[in-house]
């Protein structure tokens, strides 16, 4: 076994941490300005009240809730996919896992901000936290919003630990290659990691145990987000398939986001050697499977509603099929189903660019899906005298745009301080490949393979 490649692999993956280009500062500054604009707009909304948004009777859930569900869905890509790939020991996962786990951590943080943004009086958010209240009231455990609090925080804490633990050996690598404040900082972050067999084994055991726990947690999170809707007797919300429908949609949009992020990271950090076409191809196959499943759920949901023929449900249904919201609905079908299908199935079309185009379509389509679940149902709730419309206003649109900038900024800063690909896991993968190649060579020499 040769270990000559170790040094170049480490150098390649640590380069973004040690070298900072002007492009980095410019990009970070632009993104920071957009994020600051988002925060400024939020303060404007707090000062003037929720009246500055498009939320009005009967649609009190608009863009902020759409963004909440959208970002929680995006967060599904990372830790869940990483956990599944770890458990099935998929060797191609190694360069992908950390890229994915970072998406989860930041998308959850951004997603969890939106209920606060929508509260109007965000300083009262702590009423959701279980504590022995002086008001002699405990938070209502029957409320889906309290379930959200527990589910999102469980997933966030688990995901942060799942991201941080395998980073410890990489922090130790940086510690050993730096001096001054960086040596001090990474020394603290590496917790005195030495790399003894006991430490390696415990780390891998912990990752395995956490992967087993995180899969049901991830599924529960988006199921519980779906309960925010399905527990209410609102047209097209009160549905038993909402749980799995939301989970599939979340994984679908999550994989799409992962593809886009991987393509950007690959280009910007010059990681073409590590994030290879096979990673996009495999994730593309997974995304295709999710597209089919998603299509199945959409058909199922709409067929049952149409067959039931309840007047108020039909009003909401027709508004999306042929009415006011139909352009969005058919764009969603195009983006989530019609566009990815040829790009991901026809062999000649399959490429990184095609996968990224399909992924961009899916991200747009899934955002539209979240909007179409929330707004039309509220627009056509109850009897026709209570029907209404919703149009987002500029504060919601600015905050929506700023959430994307926040995601990009956080990702950019993360990749500056922590290798975006787990170095030690890549080394293990390289050695396994070399070992397999050596075994094949030995078998060929012995005449076992013809």
């Amino acid at each position: 076994m040769t270990r000559k490649s170790d040094s170049s692999l480490t150098d390649d993956l640590l380069r973004p941490v040690f070298e900072t280009s002007t492009k980095f500062y410019v990009t970070a500054a632009v993104l920071a300005v957009i994020v600051a604009a988002g925060f400024g707009t939020w303060f404007y909304q707090i000062y003037w009240g929720m009246g500055v948004t498009g939320d009005n009777w009967p649609v009190f859930w608009g863009l902020h809730e759409t963004n909440f569900v959208f970002w929680i869905g995006i967060s599904h890509a990372g830790t869940l996919i990483s956990a599944i790939l770890r458990i099935v020991n998929a060797t191609w996962r190694r360069p992908v896992t950390r890229c994915a786990e970072v998406i989860t951590a930041f998308a959850l943080m951004i997603g969890a901000m939106f209920p606060l943004v929508h509260l109007g009086r965000p300083w009262l958010a702590w009423w959701l936290i279980p504590y022995p209240s002086e008001r002699l009231l405990w938070p209502n455990y029957r409320s889906p919003l309290v379930w959200d609090f527990f589910a999102i925080n469980t997933y966030l804490l688990s995901s942060l630990l799942f991201l941080a633990l395998p980073a410890i050996p990489d922090f130790a690598l940086i510690r050993d290659r730096t001096t001054g404040w960086r040596n001090w900082l990474y020394g603290k972050l590496s917790l005195g990691w030495q790399g003894t067999p006991r430490q390696w084994h415990r780390l891998e055991s912990a990752m395995h145990m956490m992967a087993l726990a995180i899969i049901p947690i991830a599924i529960s999170v988006h199921t519980i987000v779906s309960f925010d809707f399905s527990m209410a007797v609102v047209p097209m919300w009160h549905s038993t398939i909402f749980g799995p429908y939301f989970v599939v949609g979340a994984i679908f949009s999550g994989i799409a986001a992962l593809n886009i992020v991987m393509a950007i990271v690959r280009r910007m950090l010059h990681l073409e050697k590590y994030l290879q076409p096979i990673h996009f191809r495999n994730l593309g196959k997974l995304m295709l499977a999710m597209s089919l499943l998603w299509g199945y759920f959409v058909f199922n949901e709409r067929l049952v509603t149409w067959y039931g023929n309840t007047p108020h449900e039909m009003a909401a249904l027709w508004s999306t099929q042929l009415g006011r919201y139909s352009p969005m609905f058919w764009t969603m079908i195009f983006c989530n189903f019609i566009l990815p299908f040829p790009l991901l199935t026809i062999r000649k079309l399959r490429s990184i660019t095609a996968t990224v185009i399909a992924s961009c379509g899916v991200v747009i389509g899934m955002w539209l899906e979240r909007f179409l679940i929330i707004v039309p149902s509220l627009s056509y709730k109850g009897t026709s005298y209570s029907w209404g419309t919703y149009l987002p206003r500029w504060p919601e649109i600015v905050i929506f745009g700023a959430s994307f900038a926040a995601m990009a900024l956080l990702y950019l800063l993360f990749s500056k301080f922590i290798p975006i690909i787990s170095i030690w896991e890549m080394k293990v993968g390289e050695h396994s490949n070399i070992k397999v190649a050596a075994q094949v060579q030995e078998s060929e020499a012995a005449g076992e393979l013809v």
Partner: protein
């Protein structure tokens, strides 16, 4: 106190060194191995495999489950609040909180077991060489009883043997 270690460029050489040290009569517990990646395909990398982590995770899950049960049902009884005609203790909805806390308990127990059994956080020992981060594997003995035998075993494996003075 004098300690001695060798830095090896391949796991095969590190394995030879470990075998040599054992043959020289160095007790297993006194042999230190450090690397920048897991070496579980090799015998020396498979030491200390026994762990109670799965059981601790189950225990953590059970504690989380109990905490979830008490948090929901006991407090619902203590501060009764009628919501939507549902019973005071709503087991169906409480199951969601109980499930989340069970999983959180299992995750925390795994992390605590990792930190405790891998002795993290800890101070970096003086018996450490930054060359490990360049892919070298360290095999050594802290304060060996028979210095010559240890040096011979490490040199036999073509390692760059280094002597290290450690403060007691």
């Amino acid at each position: 106190m004098t300690s001695m270690y060798g830095l090896f460029s391949t796991p095969e050489l590190a394995q030879q060194a470990v075998d040599g040290l054992r043959a020289a009569g160095v007790p297993e517990g006194e042999i230190t191995i450090q690397s920048s990646e897991p070496m579980e395909e090799y015998e020396f990398g498979s030491r200390d495999r026994e762990t109670l982590m799965p059981w601790n995770a189950v225990l953590g899950g059970a504690i989380g489950m109990a905490a979830g049960y008490f948090l929901t049902s006991v407090t619902q009884k203590s501060w009764p609040m009628v919501t939507g005609g549902m019973p005071i203790v709503t087991n169906w909805t409480n199951l969601i909180i109980i499930f989340e806390l069970t999983m959180l308990g299992a995750v925390f127990a795994s992390v605590i077991t990792l930190l405790y059994s891998a002795r993290l956080p800890g101070r970096l020992p003086k018996f450490y060489d930054a060359e490990i981060s360049n892919g070298k594997i360290l095999v050594g003995v802290a304060s060996p009883r028979e210095m010559e035998k240890v040096e011979h075993a490490l040199r036999a494996s073509s390692g760059g043997v280094r002597k290290l003075e450690l403060l007691s």
